[in-house]
Symmetry: C2
Subunit: 115 residues, 2 copies
Amino acid sequence: MADHEPRMCTSVEKAMELLSKRWTALIVFTLLPGPMRFVNIENSLPNISGKVLSDRLRELEAEGLIIRTVYPEVPVRIEYSLTDKGRDLSPLYKSIGDWAERWIKPEMDIHPSAE
Amino acid sequence: MADHEPRMCTSVEKAMELLSKRWTALIVFTLLPGPMRFVNIENSLPNISGKVLSDRLRELEAEGLIIRTVYPEVPVRIEYSLTDKGRDLSPLYKSIGDWAERWIKPEMDIHPSAE
């Protein structure tokens, strides 16, 4: 039966599976401005656990979207940065941003807090 | 502490949370060509359970991305279609497609099957 159903192009399907995994797209977005250390990525994504972030970073590295660089200093410094493949996702974030601007109302506190 | 960390624009964050939820982006993609019945969506996404698809469709309806239309026939016919907000995501899929074409190798069987 499944053979007769329409299937999307395999490479697009793979890309969407990768990017729609929880946190994946947000981690890549966070790294767009430049390399970051683990603790800084973690603090940029307030609700992620260290374990999950660690797993996702390893998956993104395996997929060739990020590079983990170890600087042999004391104490050792480890930074995560995007590869060309990862950085090339920026038009996608532009698309998301444009769409969000048109359709999503930010839930911002527009009232200045009382002092 | 969290107040001092960089935060992305709230509307983009909301959009990404919505789209990065498992299956959400694939369901919208599936509906781009036109309205579909539940069973056809289910068959287009081979690994989704009926329960999960039902939950996601309800969420997408609540977010205003899809409409559920009940046609009072016998037996009743129910179709799901994209709203303008949902259809306006098509540039996003174009971005994903372009990226996938550049970077993802499809795992296709390139050998014609023996007859």
